[in-house]
């Protein structure tokens, strides 16, 4: 009789869908428990804290509306990222693409002569184009020269951040803002409409939901989706099948970048009504959305749901700050812990932990 000394992993040949679900849920629960420890260390009773957070977010209509509002950029970005991940384009640059979209929309809102009813449309178009442009170069470099897109997309985030800093301190600095570093406010016709009684700028919501459904359909039922999935699963087989990797990667990258750009339009056109400091436009939506795409395992519809869940965490962070007097770093720690839990869960979906049987006989 022979047995190894420690526990070992046994691969599950075909893990059932339900296993992915309960392992993911269990890991999220573990992450929440770990976050509870953070609360306790900070001096807040975890159970009490969670109950306050729950009541103030999901407990009433106002709280729910805030959850949705916080999810708006996350839905758009996560849906696009999920699609790009399926094509094996690991876009870490959604933050920069969001900011590029925000800057382009601000340019249209502040400086264009487009007639009032069309201004918002033009902002969305410009935002999509700018976000897509921000993803274009990394996609081209990846397919043509084999440059790792994780690094190029990440680096372009800094270009976007400092580009906006320059704009709001320089050429676009508002004439009416008394030395503050932000642009003039947008005119009324360049502001997105909201659902009455809430701060939900609904055009962004509609775009997010349409994108989720559309990309789900594209993946399941179109030639492009088929090509994306073949390329993502096995690039060698894609080349063998005569699939043009450049065209498919570009399509995935431009869609993901464009959707992140739309999220940026929503933030400046629906919440801030001006171009301001990058850290205020986005508290890391572009990075957090990676978590949603990961949680959803590349499924656009699931990514939208996961984005709602993360919106809940962002909204809870606001509550924690206002009612529990916590610094903004605490909710960021929580989303970090959750990311860790979810990413580690991946292996438990495909592998089963086995503990050694007690060896009988032998030496």
């Amino acid at each position: 009789m022979r047995a190894s000394f420690g526990p070992s992993f046994a691969e599950i040949v075909s893990p059932p869908r339900t296993r992915a679900l309960w392992v993911t849920l269990a890991s999220v629960a573990l992450g929440l428990v770990a976050s509870g420890v953070v609360f306790a260390v900070y001096g807040v009773a975890p159970i009490a804290a969670y109950s306050v957070l729950l009541r103030e977010t999901l407990g009433d209509a106002r709280g729910q509306a805030e959850v949705v509002r916080k999810s708006l950029p996350l839905i758009l970005i996560a849906v696009g990222l999920a699609f790009a991940f399926r094509a094996r384009f690991f876009n870490i640059g959604a933050e920069g693409q969001l900011l590029a979209g925000a800057a382009a929309a601000s340019g249209v809102a502040l400086f264009s002569d487009i007639p009032a009813p069309y201004t918002v449309w033009a902002m969305f178009l410009a935002g999509f184009a700018a976000g897509a442009l921000w993803a274009f170069l990394p996609a081209l470099l990846k397919v043509k020269l084999g440059v790792n897109e994780v690094i190029t997309t990440l680096m372009l985030n800094f270009v976007a951040v400092y580009g906006i800093e320059w704009l709001i301190n320089g050429p676009w600095k508002g004439r009416t803002v008394m030395g503050f570093a932000y642009s003039d406010p947008f005119p009324a016709w360049a502001r997105l409409p909201v659902i009455p009684g809430t701060r939900i700028h609904w055009p962004t919501l509609v775009l997010g939901l349409v994108a989720a459904v559309a990309l789900h359909f594209v993946l399941a039922r179109t030639r492009l989706g088929f090509e994306v999935r073949v390329l993502g699963h096995n690039p060698e087989a894609a080349a063998y099948a005569g699939i043009d990797a450049l065209r498919v990667t570009l399509a995935a990258a431009l869609i993901a970048g464009g959707l992140a750009g739309l999220a940026g339009v929503g933030e400046v056109g629906g919440t801030h009504f001006r171009l301001r400091s990058p850290s205020q436009i986005s508290p890391g939506f572009g990075y957090t959305a990676i978590l949603a795409a990961q949680l959803a395992r590349g499924q656009p519809l699931a990514a939208a749901l996961a984005a709602l869940f993360l919106g809940l965490i962002f909204a809870a962070g606001d509550v924690a700050r206002a009612l529990l007097r916590m610094p903004p770093q605490v909710p960021e720690m929580i989303s970090g812990l959750l990311l860790l839990a979810v990413v580690s869960a991946e292996i438990f979906i495909r592998y089963q932990l086995r503990f050694p049987t007690v060896p009988k006989g032998g030496d």
Binding site: S4, T222, F226, H233, N234, A237, G362, D363
Partner: protein, 545 residues
């Protein structure tokens, strides 16, 4: 060649066996290595089922079996990579448990893997210093060069310690792996399919080195599925089939026919009665069954050069014509331009010079997806890596070639229902054993994956079929089906370019043979006139047409 010479072990000497060795005689000493009742189960299969195996000093023990017989599993258990579910290992009579290769190495076991596990960017000496107990922390490769040269000389290896591993040939890398094991003073050497990528000359030199190891009193486990090699080098043979030991004999008591029968079981296969003991002197093959029927030229390759990704010229001045209704076999040792030939004909790579015509029409610069529409079928070499998308369904894999066209696509939309219907038909027609059209291809066996590929590639009535190692790693039934399908396509008038390392397969199927060596055609002959010594010479670049 047998253990009749005096054997001097590194740790004390043993008496030379007088006269002819016999099982009983060997049994009187304590074996170097003994495995008793080794059983290893994987989900759905028993890979090793109660295997007994012994290895004595100064012997070469061949472990013979088809793919999937359990050789690799047993090897991994002996090297500490897997732990057996049941059974016990003994080294020099002492029971041991191996929970890692590190332990196996410390106990004197060395593995020479089929594909080398060396650090490609490092030099030979740096690779050998790695993992050596005596290596100093600073300047690890110092002083090792001399030691390597001495050891290499002793085993008749020509190895430059300062050479970078990435520049070495497969045979040279194998020699470095052998040296690595010897430097760790391995008493037990496991050679996993050691001749798979070697030229005849390299094989001979390997065999000389094995003789040397035997004379040194080391034990060698020689894992293979090649009967010729077993008859040439082994002292004892253990035959595995479906995870069990089906035979265990002295080499003198074995015949190639008997070994083949044990290896494949009761399945009827045409045995080629042409196996001799010494490599390099293969007797003539049988004439192929089918007669040559010259047809219209189909594929014309004219003066083609190919430069690979690293800027090396891998094909130069290649010219040949493949006719309709003809199977043109391409023989050669792996890495002599076969891959590039396939890529250039199927549009995966552009030639740097020359012209390629299909049915009189130039296809040199045409891209891959258009070639597919132009009815070139491609049965790829690495079927799971390039031939299918393991994570996608059988239905989706079956339309990998035709998804752009009706009935599987309408404009930009896919018609999944048509794909499912098509898959159901293919599953029935090719007897693919899959739970259904929606089953993931990655869950199918190698033979069934090949059936999926064949079903897809042959469905569009291709005029040209490029088949690379189409039966490699398949069981006999799947291999036979593959051959039948190829012959059927030839009968329909398709031209087939068959690239294979299996000379038996080439001689059985081909009408004509080309031999590739170092990117050039070193031989072109009628398959009926082909004989193995000549082929062997051509494969080594020895003689022209």
């Amino acid at each position: 060649m047998i253990t009749s010479n005096a054997v001097k072990g590194r740790k004390g000497s043993i008496e030379p066996p007088s006269g002819k060795p016999a099982l009983q005689q060997l049994h009187t000493e304590t074996p170097l290595l003994e495995a008793r009742g080794i059983t290893k189960r994987f989900p759905g299969v028993v890979a090793n089922d109660g295997i007994d195996f012994t290895l004595y000093r100064g012997e070469v023990h061949a472990l013979l079996g088809e793919n999937g017989a359990g050789k690799t599993t047993l090897m991994n258990i002996l090297y500490g990579l897997y732990q057996p579910d049941q059974g016990q290992l003994f080294i020099e009579g002492k029971p041991v448990r191996l929970s890692s290769p590190r332990q196996a190495i410390d106990l004197g076991i060395g593995l020479v893997p089929q594909h080398s596990h060396l650090v490609r960017r490092h030099t030979v000496v740096e690779n050998l210093a790695l993992g050596l107990r005596t290596t100093s922390f600073f300047l690890p490769a110092r002083r090792l060069g001399e030691e390597i040269r001495a050891l290499a000389d002793r085993y008749g290896f020509d190895v430059d310690p300062e050479a970078r591993v990435e520049l070495l040939s497969a045979g040279e890398k194998q020699r470095v792996e052998i040296l690595k094991a010897l430097m760790r003073d391995a008493k037990i050497l496991i050679l996993d399919e050691p001749t798979a990528a070697l030229t005849l000359q390299e094989t001979l030199s390997l065999f000389t080195a094995i003789e040397r190891m035997r004379a040194d009193g080391r034990g060698v486990i020689f894992i293979t599925h090649k009967l010729k090699e077993v008859m040439a080098i082994a002292d004892r043979v253990t035959v595995l089939r479906k995870g069990r030991v089906v035979a265990h004999v002295l080499r003198q008591e074995a015949t190639a026919e008997k070994l083949a029968e044990w290896m494949v079981g009761a399945r009827p296969i045409p045995l080629k009665p042409k196996v001799r003991e010494t490599p390099g002197a293969f007797p003539a093959g049988e004439p192929p069954a089918a007669e040559v029927r010259p047809g219209v030229p189909l594929l014309e390759v004219e003066d083609v050069d190919v430069v690979d990704d690293r800027g090396r010229k891998t094909l130069s001045g290649l010219s040949f014509t493949l006719r309709r209704g003809e199977i043109l076999g391409v023989a050669g040792v792996a890495g002599n331009g076969q891959r590039e030939l396939i890529e250039v004909v199927t549009g995966l790579r552009r030639p740097s010079r020359g012209r390629i015509r299909l049915g009189g029409e130039a296809i040199t610069r045409r891209n891959r997806s258009r070639l597919f529409d132009g009815a070139i079928a491609h049965i790829p070499e690495e079927r799971t890596r390039t031939g299918v998308v393991a994570g996608m369904s059988v239905a989706e894999n079956l339309i990998l070639r035709a998804y752009r066209r009706s009935p599987f696509a309408t404009g930009p939309l896919l018609n999944t229902r048509a794909a499912y219907r098509h898959a159901e038909e293919a599953i029935a027609a090719y007897r693919i054993s899959a739970p259904g059209p929606g089953a993931r291809v990655g869950l199918l066996s190698g033979g069934n994956i090949q059936k999926v590929i064949l079903a897809r590639e042959l469905s569009g009535n291709p005029s040209l079929i490029v088949a690379a190692h189409p039966t490699h790693g398949l069981d006999i039934a799947a291999a036979r089906l593959t051959h039948e399908l190829l012959l059927e396509q030839r009968a329909k008038g398709a031209g087939i370019l068959l690239v294979s390392e299996d000379l038996d397969e080439l001689l059985e199927l081909s009408d004509r043979l080309l031999v590739l060596c170092a990117g050039k055609i070193t031989g072109s002959l009628d398959a009926r006139e082909a004989d193995l010594p000549l082929l062997g010479l051509m494969m080594a670049g020895g003689s022209g047409t």
